[in-house]
């Protein structure tokens, strides 16, 4: 496996940002009401992630170390704004469905996490594939969660009827509680079949969401060292 496909494999499977690292929980829980929303949100985030990785990688020797996080935030926020305007113009239905969660891509932990852990110390090409892999991993996980919730909650998959007519869909799954239940089930299944996830960090952290942006505790932060260690 060459190092480019290795990046894709890493993002999609080995370090899947949502299912294994359990990052970016807010959008995962919020927009997974339908499989289509998962694809829309996933691909928007992928676009931002690829571009931010490429830009940050290209500027990695220019941005002074002390102000890198504010610089990353400005870069990511600009890219998100462009993406938001494009979606509003060309995909108004998706824009309406995702609403506030599109601008909130800015604070998605995955994006600043990859900038900090990978893009700021690797060349442009590899950073591109890292962004692509991580973005697709996020998209797959989001679509999967959306599919489960949509089938159980409204009896459809990608808008097509799948449950037979006599079966009453369980509406709770497309309501907010369903999001927590489905993600809980995902993690429980992975625990049961022995796939290691970062679940301990999810429920026993000190409130750090691994974004590191402007966090005053950054210099002494243990989770930051952990993120840095992953990028070898």
């Amino acid at each position: 496996m060459n190092k480019y496909t290795e990046r894709l494999y890493n993002g999609l499977i080995k370090e899947n940002p949502t299912l294994i690292l359990l990052l970016g929980m807010c959008p995962t829980l919020a927009v997974s009401t339908q499989a289509m929303n998962g694809i829309g949100m996933g691909l928007s985030t992928t676009a931002v992630l690829i571009l931010s990785n490429v830009v940050i990688s290209a500027l990695r020797k220019v941005i002074p170390d002390d102000v890198r996080l504010p610089a990353y935030i400005v870069i990511v926020a600009s890219l998100v704004t462009v993406t938001e305007l494009l979606i509003e113009a060309y995909l108004p239905a998706l824009y309406k469905e995702l609403g506030i969660y599109i601008p909130l891509i800015v604070v998605n932990c995955i994006i600043l996490g990859r900038a900090e852990a990978y893009a700021n110390k690797n060349p442009i090409g590899l950073s591109f594939f890292d962004g692509l892999g991580m973005g697709l991993g996020f998209t797959v996980a989001l679509t999967l969660a959306g599919l489960v919730r949509e089938v159980l909650g409204s009896g459809t998959a990608f808008g097509l009827q799948v449950l037979p007519n006599g079966v009453e869909p369980m509406g709770i799954f497309i309501q907010p509680p369903g999001a927590f239940l489905v993600i809980a089930a995902f993690i429980a299944v992975m625990n049961a079949i022995g796939i290691k996830t970062r679940q301990r960090e999810l429920v026993e952290s000190d409130g750090c969401d691994h974004c590191c942006a402007n966090c005053g505790a950054m210099r002494t932060c243990p989770s930051r060292k952990l993120e840095g260690g992953e990028s070898k």
Partner: protein, 192 residues
């Protein structure tokens, strides 16, 4: 007046920021392992979110809107919130060490809490005026505090229970959150 009370109730209970809007999940799940830490984080969030809503609302009405730079709101808000938290932290450290000690390490962590940016953006979306924005920020933060303190007390009881192996750790916490979310759905009947 009823309108203003309604904004607080909507923010705190009906559209609860974590259980209904899914913002600030990271700190909600992470910090809730400890009751005292949860209360401190809640206090810090109330503090920061109210101020951030006020500043974001002023900036939007008096700077962004007159200049026609509405599309810049995401960039401006996140930078302002990041800077604001640092200023609030320095200010508290100098002027009231006791409050600083209580809110402790949680102030800087809040910057990346997506709930703060989320509230600022929602306020703009709902075209709230200054007072409404401040109250919405306060109400939302109150809802966050309520949810995290409740989850912390549930978790202190879960800890003693015998839970099936695969559900230990994150799944059982998420299931507890789901049950709380179901309970909070009851508030959606509170439409005035």
């Amino acid at each position: 007046m009823t309108n203003l009370i309604l904004i607080i109730i909507t923010g705190a209970l009906i559209n609860n920021v974590v259980l209904n809007q899914f913002l600030g999940i990271c700190s909600f799940l992470g910090v809730s392992r400890d009751m005292k830490a949860s209360a401190s984080l809640g206090g810090a969030v109330i503090f920061v979110m109210t101020i951030a809503s006020a500043v974001a609302s002023l900036l939007y009405t008096f700077v962004l809107e007159p200049l026609g730079m509405d599309f810049m709101k995401t960039i401006v808000f996140i930078l302002v919130i990041a800077a604001l938290v640092q200023i609030v932290e320095m200010f508290l450290k100098k002027t009231s060490p006791s409050v600083y000690k209580a809110l402790g390490i949680y102030l800087p962590l809040i910057t990346t809490n997506c709930a703060v940016l989320g509230v600022a953006l929602t306020n703009v979306q709902n075209s709230y005026n200054f007072i409404e924005s401040v109250l919405a920020g306060f109400g939302t933060a109150l809802g966050f505090t309520l949810a995290i303190v409740l989850l912390a007390s549930i978790r202190s009881r879960i800890r003693e229970e015998d839970i099936p192996e695969p559900l230990r750790g994150a799944p059982i916490v998420l299931i507890a959150a789901a049950l709380m979310s179901i309970a909070f759905m009851g508030f959606s009947g509170l439409s005035f």
